[in-house]
């Protein structure tokens, strides 16, 4: 059986295609989290 590492080049290229999606999803997640935290703080102070 061939080790998965032997195909690392193929996997790396595939992953490279989806780096923008992962980066954007991460940014979106952080933005959502900050918005919610800001909302909770406003709710708490109000």
């Amino acid at each position: 059986m061939t080790s998965p590492i032997a195909h690392a080049g193929h996997w790396a290229v595939t992953v490279a295609y989806f780096v923008p999606v992962v980066a954007f999803a991460a940014w979106l997640g952080i933005t959502q989290w900050r918005e919610r935290r800001r909302g909770r703080r406003k709710g708490g102070s109000g």
């Binding site: 490279a16 295609y17 923008p20 954007f24 979106l28």
Partner: protein
């Protein structure tokens, strides 16, 4: 599984790696998103602004003689496809029917619809036959026919979903889906189903909502600035045809089938699929299926998986848009933004099938001369050959990237315009579009990755 090759040669002279084009495409989308948020504060596409073509040209183009000629041509080609499929050689590449159905009808009509409007409506053979029969029946009874049944609202676009899915199964799953005889029989079966639908719900009632190919090509034609209204061909504001689309039950699944089937066609060449497909097929064989049935079922599973993936991805974007507030249900948002999936479907079709259309489309030159594949030479072109030099590998890639980027920028524009039309708060509208941007970036990356596999 049709044997036509999509991409034939590799690319060695690109200045940067292919995956870097994906990054560039994502950046173009982000920049477009920011530009739309700043420079597009009011809805501009919700009104079509339709006006007839000047000088009476619009009336001539949609006149009764032109209509009859187009309809007769459509009926003739339908008959030719069935005849050649049943009576001609059963070698798919030597018979007129497979190339006509899979390349000219299925692919070439897409750009034709985008450029010239709903041309399939004019050539639709089933509509032509249905209208002719209705006219003959009116003459025979010397009066009006009984009114057709009201089209059930719940049925929506679901018959079209079933039709397009069945076509995708024929093209991508059935091992003998390119056999001319099978295609002719499938055409006859579909014709009968269409005539039953038209008999029940009226010709136009069925054509507009239930007839799969009418709905399919009409969606693409909404990208065109050309539209026929009231028997007159006219022009409307570019991109304004899609916001006017009235989503019905089944519209979102229909778009998912359209995009998902192309996705599967590309993914079927990916190593992860070619690695797991034999294992899935073996599983089905162990259940008692023949090797061929097991393989077909495996591909059916893959096709359904790709469609569900696309559907799920869109639903995820919609749920994200819902989470920003505004008081909309997920179902309402899914319907509101579904029109933005049409340019994505176009981008997928145009990019993925570009070479198939340009190369195999030329085969019509010799197949028209020898439609049965029996050595005839009706127009003296039976010896013509496919010129594979019409487009190079690098040029193909650039065109494909261009289609993908343009399609997604248009999708983004349509979604943005709809968001600012339905949200009271401009800030909420933009925030809801973060999620649609995520969907677009995802579809763009997926498209370019699939293309890189298909062309490898």
């Amino acid at each position: 599984m049709i044997p036509f090759a999509h991409g034939l040669v590799g690319r060695a002279d690109l200045p940067i790696p292919e995956w870097l084009f994906g990054w560039g495409a994502a950046m173009v989308l982000v920049v477009s998103f920011v530009a739309l948020a700043v420079l597009w504060p009011e809805p501009r596409l919700q009104q079509e602004g339709w006006r007839p073509l000047p000088g009476g040209v619009g009336r001539v183009l949609a006149s009764r003689p032109v209509e009859i000629v187009c309809a007769a041509l459509g009926v003739f080609v339908l008959g030719l496809v069935v005849y050649t499929g049943l009576r001609g050689t059963q070698t798919p590449t030597a018979n007129f029917a497979p190339t006509f159905i899979y390349v000219i009808f299925w692919l070439a009509l897409v750009p034709a619809s985008v450029l010239f409007g709903d041309v399939f409506r004019a050539f639709n053979p089933w509509r032509a036959i249905g209208r002719a029969i209705a006219w003959l029946a009116r003459v025979a009874v010397r009066g009006e026919l009984p009114a057709a049944l009201a089209y059930p609202e719940r049925l929506g676009h679901w018959p079209a979903v079933a039709g397009i899915f069945a076509f995708a199964v024929m093209e991508l799953v059935a091992s003998s889906g390119d056999r001319p005889e099978n295609l002719a029989i499938a055409t006859l079966v579909y014709s009968v189903a269409t005539f039953i639908g038209m008999a029940l719900y009226g010709v136009e009632g069925w054509i507009e909502r239930g007839e799969a190919f009418s709905v399919y090509f009409n969606l693409f034609s909404r990208l065109s600035p050309i539209e026929t209204r009231g028997g007159v061909v006219g022009l409307r504001r570019p991109l304004s045809g899609l916001p006017a689309l009235r989503p019905l039950p089944g519209t979102v699944p229909l778009l998912a089938v359209m995009i998902g089937s192309v996705t599967f066609d590309g993914a079927a060449e990916a190593p992860f699929w070619t690695n797991i497909a034999p294992d899935i097929a073996q599983f089905f064989q162990n259940l008692g299926l023949s090797p061929q049935s097991a393989l077909e079922l495996t591909f059916l599973v893959g096709l359904i998986g790709a469609i569900l993936l696309v559907y799920g991805f869109y639903r995820l974007g919609v749920l994200g848009a819902k989470s920003v507030g505004g008081g909309f249900t997920a179902a309402r948002l899914a319907r509101a933004f579904v029109h933005s999936l049409v340019p994505i479907a176009l981008a997928y079709v145009a990019a993925h099938y570009l070479t198939l259309l340009l190369f195999q489309g030329q085969a019509v030159g010799f197949l028209a001369s020898d439609p049965l594949g029996d050595g005839a030479d009706l127009f003296g072109t039976a010896d013509s050959q496919i010129d594979y030099g019409v487009i190079g590998a690098s040029a193909t890639w650039y065109w494909q990237v261009g289609f993908v980027v343009a399609g997604h920028v248009i999708a983004l524009t349509l979604a943005h315009d709809r968001a600012i039309a339905i949200y009271d708060n401009a800030k909420l509208a933009v925030r809801s579009q973060y999620w649609m941007l995520a969907v677009m970036v995802g579809f763009t990356s997926l498209a370019l990755w699939l293309l890189s596999l298909a062309n490898a």
